[in-house]
Every structure is written in C-alpha cells, then in structure tokens.
Subunit: 698 residues, 2 copies
C-alpha cells in the first residue's frame, strides 16, 4: 500500500520525466534530419549520402575552410560534371535548389493533408484553447505527432520562412498527451492531464531553442491557462530533462549549446536607449501589421476558392520563396545562420560583406574600433533591406499554409535585420559625430563604442515581442539564446516598448488573434472586465422563456426524455419541485443518457411512466412501475451564484475555477444558468460597445 | 472624461513607475552608504571623510594596486601614528574592527527596537502573508521604510552574516504601499493594492542583486499569492525601472552591472553531473538542517529569557562574529567579495592563496591548465573549511536577531565555499587520474578541464535552493548574477536535486517555516489537498450549536445588537426567516456597527424596538417606531457552496478567489459558515493525521 502510494505520488514526476526524455529524443532526430536535408539542396556526400556537408568534410579530415572547399562533398553541378564556376553551374544549382524546395514542401503538404490535418501550422492557439479546458479530439494524437515531426523537417529544409518552435511545442504536447495515458491518475482526469501538457509545452521550447527556463516561462506566460506551483516545478524538471537529452545527443556539436552565443560584452551607453526604445516601437508596429495582414490573408483564403487547394498553395509559396530567395545571399542562407550573422560582431575572422570596414586588425584580441563603412557594408545594407521586405511579405503568406510552421525564427530574423540596419546607422553616426553630447567620452577616436550586433539582438526581441506580446519569457529566451546577460535593461526596455506600441494598435498577440479568428471558446485571462453588469443580465433563460429543469422525485422517464430530446443543453439543474425551484444539484446530459440506457437494458419493468428519482428516499405515497434511482449521477455540489453577483466576479470564478457553467439563484431559488459561452459572448459584446474608448494602456 | 478614463487606466503603470524609481533611488543610497561604512571599519580618508577607500584613492590618482597602497587612505593604526607592519598595528586594527562592528550593530538594534519593531529580520514571511490577504498594520509604514533602510546599511557594515535582499524587498514593498495611496484606485482597494505590492517585491530583488527578471520570478514563485498576467507585466516594468535607476546612479562602478560576472565559458562534461547532483543534495541537506536549527533557536529564544534582551543578543552575536571572523581572511572579507572570489577562475591576475598552483601563465589569454595544487591551495582549503563551519553556525544565530537581515547572501556564501571545495577536489582528481573513463578525451595533460569556480556557482545555487526551495527564480537569479548561461543544465540539476532532498527531509522552505512558526493565517497554495472530507464536516456550527443569523425583515434593533454583543463573528448571513433559512445575503459586522451608529445619530425615533430591514420593501402589516433600512450594506452576492462540496474544491475556491468565508447551504437553505481559519485548521489536522505516510515526493 505504501509502495502504491509512493507510485501514485511520484507518477507525476515520472510522467514528466518520460515526456522530457521523449521530447528531447524527437527534437534531436528532427534537428539531425533538418541539417541533412537542408544541405541536400546544395549537394551530396557521394561516399556516404547520409552525411551532411559538415560531417562529410569531417570524415575526410579536410576541415576548416567551409563551403565548397572540401573535396568529399560534391555540389549538384559537380555531380553532373559541370565545373563549379560560371553561369552554367549557377543556373544548375539554382534549379536544383528550387526543385528540392518544391519536393520537400510538396511532400510535407501531402503528408499533412492526407494523414494528419491537425499537423499544419504552429498549433499554439489550439493548445492554449485545450489548456483552457476545451477538447479538440485527435489534435494531440499519435498521427499528429508523427506527421508533424516529419513535416517540420521537410518544411524547414524547404527554405520556407518558418521556424520549428511552435511545431516542437505541439510535438512535445502530443507526447505529453500520449504518455499521460500510462499513468491513470493523469490519463483519466482532464484537469490533471492539462498539468502534464503544460509541462510538455515547456519541454517543447526547451528543445527547440535549448532554452529550458525560457520554455517554462513561455508555458507560464503564453500557453498555460492555470499554472500552479506544482506545475511550475514539473515544467522545470521536464524542460531540464529535455534540454539534457538534446545536450547529450548533441545534434549541433558542442559549440551550439547556446544557439546564437554573442561574444561581445561591452557596456551600453545611456544615449543608446533612444534607438533601443525606437527599435521596440518599430518591433511593436511590425508585429501588429504582420498580425493584421496575416489574419486578413487567412480570412481571404477562407472565403475564396484558394482555400480549397492547399497543396497548390504550398507549392506556390515555396516556388516564390525559392526563386526570389536564391539570388540574395542573405535570403538564401538558413534563417538561423542569418540571425547568427546579424548578431555577430565584426571581428577579425568575419569576412562577410557586412564587415567591410576601413580598419585593420592587428591581432585577434584587439578591440573592434569604430571605423568608416566600406563599399561592402553599403551593398550589404541594400541586400538586407531587400531581404527584410521579402521576408516580411513572404512570411505573411507562409504562416497559414498547410505545413507545420512556427513564427519565432521568422520574427527573430526580421527583427535582427531591422536592428542591424539601425545599428549600422548608429555606428556611422558615432563615427562621423563623435563629439555629440550623448557619445561624449565614450566614442573618442579609435575606440570601440557601438556594437551593431547588439542592435540586431534588441531588434529581434522587439519584433518577436510585437508578434507574440510576451515580456518576461521573451527576455529570458533572448538570454538563453545569446548569453547577453549584460544587456538585460535594453532587452527589457525594447520588450516593454514593443508590447505597449503593439497593444495600442491591436490588443491581441498572434496566438490570441488566431483564437479569436477561429472562434475557439477561450476565456481570456489577461484582460480585466471593467463593466458593472450583473449575473441577472447575462443568465439564460431571458424574458418569457423558461429554464429546462428536472425535479428530484416527480418526473416520469418520458418527461425527462422529452426534455433531453427538445433541448441541447450539456446538463440540467435538479430542483425540489417546479413550484419552489429550490436547487438540489446538477446532472450532466451525458451521464443521464448513459444511466437511462443502462437502466433500460439491465433493470426490468422500466417504462415511460417510471419515476426518475434524484432524492435519497422514494416519495411516500407512490404506485406505478419501478422507479429509476439516479442520485449517484447527481452532482450535489454545483457552483452557484446569486443573481446580484457582479459579472466581474462571475468571470473571475469562471477563469479561476475553470467552470463550464454556473447556476444562478435568488434567495435559494434557481433562476437560471450562465454557461462559458454566455460569458465569452457577453465579454465580446461589452468590448465592442467600448471600442470608442479604446485606450493604449489596457 | 476621456482624460480621466485614461488616467484611471494608466494609473497602475504610473504607480509602479514611481515605485521603481523610488526603490532604485533608495537602493543606490543604501549601497553607497554600505560601501562607505564597510571601509570605515578599516580606515578613513582624512581629506574627505565621506569617501570610501576606492574613491579616496581615485581622487589621489594613485589607482590600481588595491588595498593599503594608496597614500590618501589611512588605516586606523596609521591615523594613530603606528607603523603599518607588526603586531601592534594588527592588534589595533583588530580592535577598531570589533568596536566599529559593535557600534554599527548596536545602533541598528537600537533604531529597530525604539522606532520600528517591524523593521527587523527579512520580512518576506510577513509579506507573503500580507499578499495572501491578511493585514498587519504598520508593517508597511513609513517608519519601517526609513529604519529598515538605515538599519540594513548598519547591519551589513557590521560584518554580520546577513544580506540585504530580504530587507530590500521589504523596503520596496513599503514604498509600494505608501505610493499606492497616491492612486485612489489602488490605495482604497486591498486586492488592487496587493497587485502593486507584488510588483514592488520584484523591484526589491531587482535592485538588491541587479537581477530584474529574477526579481519578477521571485515575486511569482516565492512571494505572491495571486499573480495574474497583468501583475506579471507590471512587475516586469517596475523591476526594469528600478534596475535602470540603479544602473544610472551606478553605485558600484560600471563593471558591477553583473554582480558576480564569471569570465569562463568552458563546456561542462557529463561526468561532472555527478558532483553537481551531489552538490545539489548537499545543498538541500544543509538548507534543511539550517532551517531546523534556526527554527529551533527561534523557539528557544521565545521561551527563554534571552528573548527579552534583543540589544544584548545583537551585541553578543556581533562580538562573536567580529572576534572569530577577523583572523581568517575569508571571513574577514565581505560576503559579497568572498562569493566573487569563490566563483572566479584562477587566472594570471588572481594572486589569492586559492590560486597557488604549480603552473606558469605565458600570456593573459592562455588557457587555465589543469595543474597540481601548491601549498597555498591546501592552506586555503583549511581556512575555507573553517570559514564554512563558522558561517553556518553564526548565520543560524544571526537570522532572527533584531536587525534587518536577509538570508540570500549568507546562503550563497556557504554554498560557494562548499562548491569550491568540491571543485578543488574534482580538479585534483582529474589531475591525478586523467585517464579515468569519465574524463577521457577531455582531461588530457595540460588541458583546461575542471573549473572549480563553476562548482562554487552550482554549490551556491544548491544551498540557496535548499533554504528557499525556489527553482525557476533561483536559476534565473544565478544567471543574472553570473552571466553563466552555458551552465543552465548543471544549475537546474542542482536546484532540482536540492529541492527534492530538502523536501524529503522537511517540507517547508525557510519562509514557510517561519510563517508556520508564527502561526500566520496563510493558506498554502502549493500543496494539494488529497482528502475526501466534505464541507459539512468542516463548517460551523457543529452539533447542537446554532448559527448566528439575521432575518431580513423581522428582527428588532435590540435583537441585532444582542447578537453583535454576544458573538465575535466578522459578519452575519441574512435569511428570509429563521424557520425557512433561505439565504438573502451577508452583512459585515463592521458595516452593521457603523450603520447602526450612524442611524442613531442622524435618524429620529430609532429605538430598540425599531425593526432592522434588509429587504427592499417594508413588511406589509407593520406598526411601531421607524425602521432601520440597511439593504445598502447587504452583500447580495455572497459565495455559497453546498454541504456536499468536497473540501478539495472548497480549499481551491478559498485560494483562488481569496475568500475569507463562504456560506454552506443545502437545497437553498443556509446550514453554516466556513471561514478561512476553519480551513487552515482543517488542513493542519488532516496533515498531522497523515504524517506517518510522509513521502519524499509531495
């Protein structure tokens, strides 16, 4: 018995342990697959086709010099015998690139369409809705898990503008859902299961980014509805295990344990807060515009014929992305590499166009001095501006096609470009006007004073903040991605500015916008309800209609079945008598149907005239067919409120207690019912009526 | 009107802005004062006594060589004309040190005792209780604020084993409380005010450590009871502003923007997880033993005569700390410096005993090779072991004396020593057995493979975790203190191990232990309630006693006043009639007393025979003196439950809705009342009965 108790007590920890292990393993496989397929677009390792470019060159012992310099790895033109320089080779490479992209994306789209329609998109809006108490059957099933894992590898390899964090969260939550059935305590109780799902969501972000703490906070701030301390600790443990597994399998090699590790740690100056806040505001603006455009496009698709040809849509978007993206080096490289490049410092080893400054490095450790930009920088600025426009417009169309797709990496990417551009501008400003009061003292000649990479980091946080409206989780994720603990104040300032500007122009983040667009029954727990309506104004029935109730000991089976037939309510209040309306309890439609069916099968003599009895004793004088005793399915503790309760309190109770309905009484007598749908509808009504007074500070 | 609405909407943000600004300013003043007074123990700057040693030497342009090498700064023996070498000088320094410590501590104790008794200790248990809905008058007043600010400077300067994070949180929450009265929306509503206090607590940690995100999470995980999204964002903003102010005033100089910044970023090896988990377990053990010893000592004091002489106690503890602490260099230096030293890498510039290895550095950037420990290291190990024992035993007595005192810095300090010792052991192990399988490949001769500073970091986290039982907040605070993002998995593993081991031996962290010790009415929201009792088992009245109720329109003023006199309940249910017991509403004792007093003064003809009317209309046939209409003070929407409600649900409602009482009904009739005290008592009873089955996994 003690052992059983111990198992019961530790089963929650055990369950999240398995979830963490499984999520880490799946993520590692996805990472390895993605790397291989990404390189497959450019060439192949003929001696061992299952190796990617880096590993192929490792095995040949000719390391170090990067792309195209290792004889074991052959690009497609080389495979076909075309020499590697010249127009022919370029066109062949271009063609192979486009064809592979179409192949990958088409395959992903086919798999999703035929095998697991729920595997498309990010999945976070649906997970939020599920965690708020709604059930979407099949959304967290094993087919979704398998297809989403394969689909995300294909979609990322197809060079589409999407990331894998949202899908990884969905995958981890699927794992959590499947594994929770191993533990009866969690598998059988929806509320308990949601605790496991919250922890799994944390593991998802943990493995997608190597950001375990960020994952916990993401689950807390963005995904979960109800997040008690116990769930916090479990999430922490689950994220830890998942991170540990990824670290052990080590798909990136050692150096990548921090995804976009930044080397610099120069302190920032006060005057730099102005561009940082500006970047925050721009990020909020880009985020809001992006959300609006994306929702507009989704709505347009839904109402037009295009929505009926998902595979065509996938192929069109991929074709456009591949054709437009290949010529520009900044759009051709993977988004992850681009972000890394934007964040990086122009040190001695960085030979990108972006680092073509008029300066000489004397040795590896010399400071990166302020210098005049060379022609390469100007070219890079033009290419980056172009890349930014392309990325923004293509991402709008990409998020929403029927392949697995996350929004984090594209957001970071856009933000990093914007930030780097502002950073370069600031740097040249400081070079040309070093005596300006804000720079004074810090930007004297030949000193290291503005770091454009830092601006890219702040910009990335700002756009991601504008799109998701996270704050704490955002800043922690940025830390864990970059290691830039010294820049906490700039990052926080940008996140706050981004959130404020974003909220001023459109209150919802992208997840909430999609929840609203899809009309999921999600009761937002972020907004305060500031109106003075009462429960009596919201409850059903209104006016002349009457409430469908059952009485505890005076209704025949026929009467009960009539009510079941004529209404669609999920449950019915049981009262002492129709005249007095004193509340006894609440019975669910499902339980009632089951119990009646059961009784008809197993109990003799049940007819339409049988009394349905919810009271503990039978009525004293009573003749007729044997009665149906249903007290055991009666919920004797329904949550009730009085008709004078302010809706503010009612909404609070729905949110915090996770109610589906509450009964409204007056002096002990039942008056009506308020369901979650009534509440959601009422909030929407009241908000619409307030639109005129919409103020930036929520 | 729109402007008023805007002000109303933004007043929350404005309030936390002011709180952040004020908290940042106070913290900076405290920091500057502490530095000055700490140095005052050793010497003075005769030309400008208000400068500390560093600034004194700055003003003389003879920087760089650290202590005792700047002619402007005179140690006390030098001031008295004694040459700075030799026994005489040492003894004089020693005496001055002890006297200054006694002076500072005595002054702090006097101030606390005479002016603000609530300013002693950390204050976090009380703040937790306040945030859970209890009111302690004067605890967050202006005198507490002023005395605590001065007291913490004095106490830290007195070289006692205490830190300033708890007091800084208390100070920030005082500021939040005082400033919230500027905004009627928050000052007048206790529940709203608690939102501001939660945000202020985040600012407190933010300024104490320069850890804004850690502060938000500390407020979330450890301090706050109810933490909605809105409070999360406000806390984030408040912590940001506070951190920004501290950064602007810059009490430490630029380099200290990250308090214990670690330079190394070598990846850790898998085999190192074993010592990390070991450190976690040791940390959990030390934490639990510390809590038990501290509570035991506090109880002993309470029941003995010693508790009546707080100043004597302060002086005794200070005397012991100063006398024992001075000879050992590791206890003489400030705890902050000691932690920094423990965390640091033995690089070329580090000439502490601890870094006396048999190795030569060729240049500044060469790797720190594995090397044999020299005699200095062994001496340091002995001194550190001694320091550890002293620190642990003295801290037990220090936490609880009547001066402001926080537990973080001492915990980090103990943990850092333990960790460093384990780290040195591991390092020598790796040096002597480089071929052991766990080290293989990584610890070849002359390579940099074990970083003892990292062990110190992990150990510090483990002990702090053992004492406070934080997880997420702990890891984020460790990041922000050290910048060691690469070590997230070791830190998380140690935090988890520490929490599990700690929980296995004693369920409460130090704050909860002190709450339990002081019997504060705190309803813990971390534990699940796993029993099957019903509301009917807990509600009052039990047995033959009857419930004190008022009727809505049939009681005379005299009868009401009799009930008020004969009971001490905080409020009374109002029913239709004593016979039917159908519930109408709930009225608070305070409102009832006020309304009756008011009516007697202002309304003519009120006598003991006047009817007290809670119904909207007067009873139809009625003669006698004018009635007292009290419907406006009646709460028409009291929270009710049925007698069959499981206590698990009831406790959930109390926690989440912050109830003080709930009314229990059966079929609409009032049966009884459950108050928060009843709930707390019931939980305690049920837990005590379960002690036998106490399992490590909660």
């Amino acid at each position: 018995d003690l052992i059983k108790g111990g198992f019961d007590a530790s089963s929650g920890w055990l369950c999240v342990l398995f979830v963490g292990l499984a999520a880490g393993t799946v993520a590692s496989v996805v990472d390895i697959g993605t790397t291989w397929m990404t390189d497959l677009k450019y060439g192949i390792c003929p001696e061992a086709f299952w190796l990617d470019e880096e590993q192929c060159c490792w095995s040949s012992n000719e390391t170090t010099f990067g792309a195209n310099n290792c004889s074991q790895w052959l690009t497609w033109p080389q495979m076909l015998g075309v020499e590697s320089e010249g127009a022919g080779s370029y066109i062949l490479s271009y063609m192979f690139y486009v064809v592979w992209c179409l192949l990958f994306a088409g395959l992903a789209g086919m798999l999703v369409k035929t095998l697991a329609p729920y595997a498309c998109g990010g999945g976070i809006p649906e997970i939020k809705t599920i965690l708020s108490g709604f059930i979407i059957r099949g959304f967290l099933g094993k087919w979704t898990l398998i297809i989403k894992s394969i689909g995300i590898m294909l979609a990322v390899s197809a060079a589409l503008n999407l990331g894998k964090e949202g899908p990884m969260v969905h995958i981890a939550v699927c794992i959590g859902n499947i594994l929770s059935y191993m533990f009866p305590k969690y598998g059988r109780n929806e509320a308990k299961k949601r605790e496991i799902l919250s922890a799994a969501a944390a593991a998802g972000v943990s493995v997608a980014f190597g950001a375990p703490i960020g994952g916990v906070l993401f689950s807390l701030e963005e995904v979960s509805y109800y997040f008690p301390m116990k769930t916090l600790w479990r999430s922490f443990f689950c994220a830890l295990i998942a991170a540990f597994v990824v670290r052990s399998i080590d798909p990136y090699g050692n150096e990548h344990s921090v995804l976009f590790y930044v080397e610099y740690n120069k302190p920032w100056m006060f005057v730099e807060l102005i561009p940082f806040l500006f970047l925050g505001a721009v990020g909020g603006l880009i985020g809001t515009l992006f959300i609006r455009a994306n929702i507009w496009w989704t709505r347009f698709k839904k109402n037009s014929k295009l929505g009926q040809y998902p595979i065509t849509e996938v192929l069109l978007v991929t074709l456009a992305t591949a054709i437009v993206g290949y010529p520009n080096p900044y759009t051709r490289m993977s988004s992850t590499r681009l972000i890394y490049l934007m964040f990086s410092q122009c040190g001695i080893a960085n030979d990108d166009l972006l680092c073509d400054y008029n300066r000489n490095f004397t040795d590896v450790n010399s400071a990166v001095e302020l210098a005049e930009a060379g022609p390469g920088v100007f070219q890079a600025v033009w290419l980056l501006s172009l890349a930014l426009i392309l990325k923004i417009s293509l991402t709008i169309f990409t998020i929403g096609i029927k392949v697995p797709a996350g929004i984090y990496i594209p957001s970071l990417c856009m933000g990093a470009i914007v930030g780097r551009l502002v950073g370069i501008a600031m740097e040249q400003l400081a070079y040309n006007y070093p005596t300006f009061w804000g720079f004074s003292g810090e930007c004297s000649a030949n000193s290291d004073c503005i770091t454009p990479g830092l601006y890219a980091m702040v910009g990335a946080a700002a756009v991601l903040g504008g799109i998701t409206r996270m704050t704490v989780a955002l800043v922690v994720i940025m830390f864990e991605l970059t290691g830039g603990v010294r820049y906490i104040v700039p990052l926080m300032a940008a996140a706050m500015a981004s959130k404020w500007v974003g909220d001023a122009f459109g209150k919802d983040g992208i997840y909430d916008a999609h929840i609203a667009f899809n009309d999921y029954p999600f009761l937002d727990n972020k907004e305060e309800f500031g109106h003075t309506t009462l429960a009596a104004d919201v409850m059903e029935p209104k006016g002349a209609k009457t409430l469908s109730v059952l009485t505890q000991d005076s209704m025949t089976l026929e009467a009960v079945e009539t009510i079941l037939r004529e209404t669609t309510h999920n449950g019915f209040p049981v009262v002492i008598s129709r005249e007095s309306q004193f509340l006894v309890g609440f019975v669910l439609r499902r339980d009632l149907l089951l119990a009646i069916g059961n009784a008809k099968r197993t109990q003799d003599g049940i007819t339409g005239e049988s009394l349905v009895i919810f009271s503990p004793t039978l009525p004293t004088q009573w003749v007729g067919p044997p009665p149906l005793k249903l007290r055991r399915i009666l919920d004797l503790a329904p949550i009730t409120i009085t008709d004078q309760t302010p809706m503010e309190t009612v909404i609070d109770m729905f949110r915090k207690l996770g109610l589906r309905q509450t009964l409204v009484t007056h002096n002990g007598r039942l008056l009506g019912v308020i369901t979650k749908k009534d509440v959601v509808r009422h909030i929407k009504q009241m908000e619409d009526s307030r639109e005129f007074y919409n103020l930036p500070f929520p």
